[in-house]
């Protein structure tokens, strides 16, 4: 049986983990916007803040994504009269709730609320799958043709990237013989990170996660010049704000998951586990992954959904299959 933290710490963590993760994800979202803006010869989010609050915020406007969300939360929410109201209103909350639940299972800098749970990988996979599902249902229920087309694209794209992602993650599970994400981190810290041990899985999962982040080559479901905003076309006000919070959280959760799976959770050990240093390294590595994502975002135009499907089944899927074979080969020949 896995060992959990005391109940008081778990209760505190239930509140603190989403708050801290949201603060970090705001910084990640800012970085994604700023880096891609600078690479596109733009200014990006406004740089200078008023003098009075500089002592608190510093000179950069790091919290621009937060202000955007706050603005949306103040605004009026309009539900189309032809939409299926209950589904339309529930979908964003379902997406956000499942994403927050997924956060509890993802270790961050050595701290994890439920990471020791024996099936935490399975739980994360399902909870992350809830996000596109909720978006699909929400878009389809909005009664807008753009929402319907966006929902269809979202579903197709999810099918395309989910398979390589699952293959890549389960290749690790086969190698470490566990379904718990904390055990995976322990396994990597005792030997070497999976990035070196199984690079095929790393590439397959990274590409799948780019699809999940919905940045440039794969922002197909929200292609603004084609279908306005896809599933979120009819969303406004608070509901759109909830979806924005969800998206912002995703920009942090995706690098965090990658670090845990392939970079050994960014743990720093001196004699025992050094928590502050691990946390710092963790944040540094996730910012680095966001920069890589921003470069991909800047360098590529948008795929059409059929092209994306073909691309995913040509490269990441094959890499995922190779990763599984590689994992078995390493296990059978007993290299570890």
């Amino acid at each position: 049986m896995a060992e959990y933290y005391p109940i008081s710490l778990i209760l505190a963590g239930l509140v603190l983990v989403p708050v801290i993760a949201f603060a970090l994800s705001v910084i990640c979202a800012y970085e994604l916007r700023k880096v891609s803006a600078r690479l596109q010869a733009r200014r990006g989010p406004y740089f200078i803040v008023p003098k009075e609050v500089r002592s608190v915020l510093g000179v950069t406007r790091l919290f621009q994504p937060l202000y955007d969300i706050l603005k949306l939360l103040y605004k009026e929410t309009i539900v189309p009269s032809t939409a299926i109201g209950s589904v339309f209103k529930t979908a964003p909350y379902v997406a956000l709730a499942s994403l927050i639940a997924a956060l509890y299972f993802v270790p961050m800098g050595g701290f994890s609320l439920f990471g020791q749970f024996e099936f935490s990988i399975v739980a994360i996979s399902y909870l992350l799958l809830m996000v596109p599902l909720a978006l699909t249902v929400g878009g389809a229920s909005s009664s807008s043709p753009w929402g319907a087309i966006g929902a269809q694209r979202e579903a197709e794209l999810t099918l395309a990237y989910e398979v390589p992602q699952i293959l890549g993650i389960f290749a690790l599970a086969i190698m470490a013989n566990t379904l718990s994400i904390s055990s995976l981190i322990d396994f990597q810290n005792q030997r070497i990170p999976f990035l070196i041990l199984n690079p095929f899985a790393a590439v397959a999962v990274f590409l799948a996660l780019i699809g999940k982040l919905q940045i440039k080559p794969f922002d197909i479901s929200e292609a603004e010049v084609e279908i306005v905003a896809g599933p979120v076309t009819e969303y406004s006000g608070r509901l759109l704000g909830i979806l924005e919070i969800m998206k912002t959280l995703l920009t942090f959760l995706v690098p965090a998951l990658f670090i845990d799976l392939f970079l050994g959770g960014a743990l720093v050990r001196t004699t025992t586990l050094n928590y502050p240093a691990s946390a710092a390294l963790f944040i540094l590595e996730s910012l680095l992954i966001v920069v890589i994502a921003a470069v991909i975002h800047v360098y590529s135009p948008r795929f059409r959904v059929d092209q994306a499907f073909k691309w995913f089944s040509r490269f990441p899927l094959v890499l995922g299959l190779i990763a599984i074979v590689w994992a078995y080969a390493i296990k059978i020949f007993g290299v570890l």
């Binding site: 009269s81 009664s143 269809q152 059409r304 092209q307």
Partner: protein, 561 residues
């Protein structure tokens, strides 16, 4: 025997001895006045063996005398400068004439335009809906009954359909949509994401400019012509002065020719760069959008330096150019042009090498040579399908002729969006080359660049220009006063927009923006009342702005009735 002699002899024999009235105008243009029943035969002859282009159909309101319908046939792609105008007079009491749509499909749009705005009726035109005016407006010929109610019922049936049972649905793109920079309304019939049928509706930016021309004198009309399009203002003024100078018989000074060429080429450069940016955005490539627009700023700087304005420079005048470009300005322009050229070569390389760009553009929006020739495409759209039409080459004006500059027409046989992209990027390189030649002449020579303007005599002129989007045509009729009697404008997007429904069929909704964008549509050019629709009751009311203002309630919302 040249094309012009052969065609004219044949037309003479078709008309017979008693009807044969031919007037030769300047610049290899010929006017014919023919009886209405001979028109179909001549059109058939010019369409099939000759392969001429029906450029436009103008209608001139002669007041009590009736209407003059002028069919402009452009044969300049066969022989330099050759144009034939066929005039038919119809009476005011019974303004009817048989449609040419069965003979040449190029006639459909001009005939619809004429029917929208005048009382003239073309019997047998297959397009039964309004193209410019709102669908519900009464037909001036048939009386006050709304033209067709079928459109409205179709709308109400299809939009709130149950998505689970829908096989086909109607996707309404526009009038305001992120992919459309200007307002245009598309009705796409789709099955899943595949487009089965497409229908276009224009008129969202109709300003009645052709009517405004009729009460402005020639010099003021020039600035009005500049306002037709925000992007290609120099092209419009050049085409306008080409027509006026043809009437007045002005022979341009050589320096003015080179200056006009230089300015026109800079217009093309900035417009193609803008197009490149927008096209990149349409396939989701924001980075290239930003970089290309940054590059376009250099051209804007050149305009500002030489004229004081970034846009609407009014640099072209009747009889020349408003200002001279000399000395340091030329050096500045040359330096900027060299910078632009090297960056354009870079962009051509990027576009060629990027795998996703090619995937999005190749085999998309296929436009076969036959379709272009049949429907009369112009500009880079036509040249991307190997159809050689370029006014600079065929009806050369200013310094585009062989005596002044040397350059080639860019052609590509790819027939898809990729080919049109390549044609535009290569045209940029050709434009830089022409610019260098002009700068070279301007630096080493001097002379007058603006002539005194005299009275404009009675007559008519057909002025053309190769705008960045294609062949632009002005037809001006002068009655000897200082105000033009009639001005008719045929913009390039007018012709290319009519190709779009053909191009969209069979492709997916994801491809629709880039297909529409690949012709570089300029809706304000093609367009020349407020309408309120109540979604729940499908009741449509047409209100003036004053009425809307009166019916606003305290919250500033418009009340529906």
């Amino acid at each position: 025997m040249s094309v012009s002699d052969q065609v004219r002899t044949n037309i003479k024999s078709m008309l017979g001895q008693q009807d044969s009235v031919e007037t030769a105008l300047a610049n290899n243009r010929f006017n014919y006045r023919i009886p209405a029943e001979k028109l179909a035969d001549i059109a058939q002859y010019l369409k099939d063996p000759v392969r001429g282009r029906l450029a436009h159909i103008s209608v001139i309101d002669l007041g009590i005398d009736g209407f003059d319908i002028v069919y402009h046939y452009a044969l300049d792609h066969l022989e330099k400068h050759l144009h034939l105008n066929f005039k038919i007079r119809i009476s005011r009491e019974d303004p009817q004439i048989a449609s040419l749509a069965t003979v040449s499909q190029e006639a459909i749009w001009p005939e619809r335009e004429t029917m929208d705005f005048t009382r003239v009726k073309f019997t047998g035109n297959p397009l039964t809906q309004r193209l410019w005016l709102p669908y519900e407006w009464p037909n001036p010929v048939e009386g006050s009954t709304p033209q067709n109610n079928t459109v409205k019922t179709e709308d109400t049936l299809i939009v709130p359909q149950n998505p689970l049972r829908a096989q086909q649905s109607l996707l309404l793109l526009g009038p305001y949509h992120p992919s459309l920079i200007e307002s245009v309304y598309w009705r796409l019939k789709v099955s899943g994401e595949e487009i089965l049928d497409a229908q276009i509706k224009l008129g969202w930016n109709h300003r009645g400019i052709m009517k405004l021309f009729e009460d402005k004198n020639y010099r003021r009309a020039l600035t009005l012509s500049e306002r037709i399009c925000g992007i290609c203002h120099i092209s419009h003024t050049t085409a306008y002065v080409n027509a006026v100078e043809q009437i007045a018989g002005i022979d341009l000074p050589i320096r003015a020719r080179y200056l006009r060429t230089l300015l026109n080429e800079f217009e093309r450069i900035h417009s193609h760069l803008l197009w490149f940016a927008v096209a990149a955005d349409l396939i989701g490539f924001k980075t290239v959008f930003m970089l290309a627009l940054k590059l376009r700023e250099d051209v804007m700087d050149i305009f500002e330096k030489v004229s004081g304005h970034r846009r609407s420079t009014t640099c072209i005048q009747i009889g020349g150019v408003r200002f001279d470009i000399t000395g340091e300005d030329l050096t500045h322009i040359e330096r900027k042009t060299k910078h632009l050229e090297s960056k354009t070569r870079d962009m051509l390389e990027w576009a060629r090498d990027h795998p996703v760009v090619r995937k999005r553009l190749e085999d998309v929006g296929r436009l076969p040579y036959e379709t272009v020739a049949r429907l009369g495409g112009v500009g880079p759209t036509a040249r991307g399908s190997n159809y050689k039409v370029d006014v600079r080459w065929s009806d050369s004006f200013a310094a585009y002729g062989e005596d002044y500059t040397t350059w080639d027409v860019v052609l590509d046989g790819g027939e898809d969006c990729w080919a049109r992209t390549i044609v535009r990027l290569k045209e940029l390189l050709v434009s830089y080359d022409i610019c260098y030649q002009c700068i070279n002449y301007l630096r080493n020579n001097s002379g007058p660049y603006l002539l005194e303007m005299n009275n404009i005599p009675e007559g008519e002129g057909l002025g053309k220009n190769e705008a960045p989007r294609g062949e632009l045509m002005y037809y001006i009729v002068s009655d000897g006063t200082n105000v033009p009697y009639s001005v008719r404008v045929r913009t390039p997007s007018y012709r290319n927009n009519s190709l779009l429904p053909e191009m969209l069929k069979g492709y997916s909704v994801a491809d629709a923006p880039i297909i529409i964008g690949s012709i570089d549509p300029c809706m304000s050019c093609s367009d020349r009342l407020a309408r309120i629709e109540d979604v729940r009751t499908n009741k449509v009311s047409i209100l003036s702005l004053k009425e809307i203002a009166r019916r606003r309630n305290k919250n500033g919302r418009i009340l529906s009735n």
